[in-house]
């Protein structure tokens, strides 16, 4: 236990670190500035700002804002990115409550009851409960990360290449099981991602693979390029398609009376507790994450409720549970990333991308060699949640005004912003064109009901999987049974197989579809 406290202490030390700023105009006087706190604040603010824009999901927000963190030192950049992530999530729930347009899949269920509450003039309490629930979930998740971090890292150090490979297979299978829609298509997307990650030079032999002698492809496809194309540009094209302005039924009344009543608090407390618990567990599972957590929490709350028929007509539990769950899951999904170095979902995959750009290879080694980075990030999560609670409620008025920005002005701005962002990664015009091509690809994928998120996950895990597979087979002298004979690996493989079989079984498949159907009616 003591270790947890000293670690968290170090983390908070990093977050509250003061940097002496000596500007010339003050004549040698220096002012202490809490740089990391400021970065966390800016991240949360900008994240909410972009996340609030309708039709832009969490992944798109993080991808789009990735370039603004490039110039920062690694710790600051990661703290800011984490802030952006939470901000985006919170922004997403604000739009679902006020406009009934969920900015991201995770807040689809929030819209069901949240928007009804807003229509009844109770947008204030809905937003407040969403913020309070998220904050509570954030606190619990932060403690959970701190407690589980160290032991899981020790476990990870005992992992050999075979175990790593099996674990990644498990993660990908989880991602498939929890993805919406067809299982086959989700697997195809992952494999497509794996295939895309093979472009570039081979890690062992240095041979150029599928690069067609194009110099820009020699180092492989840029991660930021792919993410911004698939999520940024594709989203824009898709939204244009849907005729931007048509279904924006903005709540016109002024948001007044933020404070929830005592009854609201009493009703939502158990929902927040259950949502947090469920979200924390689902977040840790590889492949899990905010989306599935909020769906599951809503479904569970409806099942447990004494008045399930009221769900969908504006009950506070219907906001409290999914919001707490998605925030809890958003944070606990950092656990597999920080301890094992395996991103459990697409947003975490983006985090890996950001880390790699800063020269950090996520995994157990980071926890040991750069503890201040990891713990600083963990502590910043709590600070970020606190900031969201403090800044967002008073700023609701501004967010509402932002929602009135017409799409015809918003989308060209996003196109330009993304283009500059992608260009600034490598100063390469080819990257911008590639991102454009991926944007069209993403549009096509959406049109054919392929989800781009698993593709991103596959793209990040590809090189890791290949490396570990090669090593495992080299150590076992070409014996493929190594994955079944090493106990830990065998267990992981068995779980993956069982999961896959279960999803294909008709009865379970129905259950799985049911959870997602909730969002569509």
């Amino acid at each position: 236990m003591g270790e947890v406290f000293s670690n968290l202490g170090m983390g908070f030390g990093v977050v509250f670190q003061l940097v002496q700023w000596t500007p010339a105009f003050l004549g040698g006087m220096s002012i202490p500035i809490p740089v990391n706190i400021l970065l966390c604040l800016i991240g949360a603010l900008v994240g909410t700002l972009v996340g609030v824009l309708p039709g832009i999901g969490t992944i798109a927000t993080v991808a789009m804002l990735l370039p603004i963190t490039f110039g920062l030192p690694p710790v600051g950049a990661l703290i800011m990115l984490a802030g952006i992530y939470y901000g985006a999530q919170y922004g997403g729930s604000t739009t679902s409550i006020l406009v009934n347009i969920p900015g991201e899949a995770g807040s689809v269920v929030t819209a069901l009851d949240g928007f009804q509450m807003a229509k009844q003039g109770r947008a204030g309490p809905a937003l407040a409960i969403a913020a309070i629930g998220s904050f509570f979930a954030g606190c619990v998740a932060t403690v959970l990360i701190a407690v589980l971090g160290a032991p899981l890292t020790k476990l990870a150090l005992a992992f050999g290449p075979a175990e790593y490979f099996s674990l990644m297979v498990l993660g990908l299978i989880f991602a498939v099981v929890l993805a919406k829609g067809s299982v086959l298509k989700a697997i195809a997307m992952i494999v497509f991602g794996l295939l895309l990650s093979m472009v570039g030079s081979d890690i062992e032999t240095g041979a150029s693979r599928m690069a067609f002698n194009i110099p820009e492809l020699a180092d492989g496809l840029g991660f930021a390029t792919l993410a911004m194309g698939l999520f940024g540009f594709a989203e824009i094209i898709r939204n244009l398609d849907a005729g931007g302005e048509t279904d924006r039924q903005l709540v016109q009344q002024k948001v007044t009376g933020l404070m929830p009543t005592r009854k609201d608090l009493k009703d939502s407390t158990p929902a927040i507790l259950r949502g947090t618990a469920l979200g924390s567990i689902l977040g840790i599972l590889p492949g899990g994450g905010a989306v599935i957590a909020s769906f599951a929490a809503y479904t569970m709350e409806k099942k447990l409720s004494k008045h399930p028929e009221k769900f969908g007509s504006g009950v506070i539990e219907g906001v409290a549970a999914p919001e707490s769950a998605n925030n809890a899951a958003a944070q606990t999904s950092f656990i597999p990333l920080l301890t094992l170095g395996i991103p459990p979902n697409a947003v975490m995959a983006l985090m890996v991308g950001a880390m790699t750009i800063h020269g950090i290879v996520p995994g157990p080694q980071v926890m040991q060699k750069q503890p201040e980075l990891v713990w600083g990030m963990i502590a910043s999560m709590w600070v970020g949640n606190l900031m969201l609670l403090i800044i967002n409620l008073p700023l609701v008025g501004i967010w509402v005004r932002l929602l009135r920005v017409p799409y015809r002005l918003m989308f060209p701005s996003i196109v330009v912003f993304c283009s500059i962002g992608i260009y600034s990664v490598n100063n390469a015009p080819t990257d911008v064109m590639l991102a454009g091509a991926f944007g069209l690809l993403g549009y096509w994928l959406i049109k054919h009901d392929f989800e781009p998120a698993p593709l991103l996950l596959g793209m990040v895990l590809g090189p890791l999987m290949e490396e570990n597979l090669r090593r495992a087979l080299l150590i076992s002298r070409g014996d493929w049974t190594v994955f079944a004979t090493r106990p830990l690996s065998a267990v992981l493989m068995a779980i993956s197989a069982a999961l896959l079989v279960m999803t294909i079984l008709p009865s379970l498949r129905k259950k799985r579809d049911e959870v997602f159907v909730e969002s569509e009616n």
Binding site: I420, G436, L473
Partner: protein
């Protein structure tokens, strides 16, 4: 609304025996990608004894995708599914053009010119654009970006056209 109807299913393009055109075409496209990848990685070395060659993993994934693509195609044949929705042409066209124009002009013309032109080009992506408003917002955004990226974020971007710097 835009002149392109967004959700009307395209009927009668596909023969009747294809029950789920969306999956059918999607699956075929995956097969196509897999075949292309197999061709692209065909010159790479395969297994040497029990160690992987450069081409082993790409080919493995490509074969996997090939199998999945065939499976999706078959599902599209036998299971009733979604029709293919129409593609809008206006949005994708102008957004792509804007991106291309940015990529082509950023080196020779600098940030200010390329950001503003690509803003205007992408604004053509919707018929709802009101030009006066768009130009004002475009100027504001260009100013914002040319302060944010080079100054606030310290990224080395060239601001003005090359011929003017000289």
């Amino acid at each position: 609304m835009s002149e392109t109807p967004s959700h009307g299913p395209v009927k009668y393009i596909m023969p009747k025996w294809i029950r789920g055109p969306q999956d059918f075409v999607g699956g075929l496209a995956m097969v196509g990608i897999a075949v292309f990848a197999l061709w692209a990685s065909s010159d790479l070395q395969g297994m040497r004894g029990f160690s992987f060659g450069a081409g082993t993993a790409p080919r493995m994934f490509a074969y996997l995708l090939l199998g999945l693509g065939i499976a999706i195609t078959i599902v599209g044949l036998v299971k009733h599914g979604e029709h293919i929705t129409t593609y809008a042409w206006r949005g994708p066209l102008f957004v792509s053009l804007a991106i291309l124009s940015f990529a082509a002009s950023i080196r020779p013309m600098g940030l200010i010119f390329s950001a503003f032109t690509s803003f205007l080009i992408s604004a053509m992506g919707t018929p709802e654009t009101k030009w006066k408003q768009t130009i004002i917002v475009g100027i504001c955004l260009t100013t914002f970006c040319s302060l944010l990226f080079p100054y606030a974020l310290g990224l080395p971007l060239q601001m003005w056209p090359k011929f003017m710097i000289r």
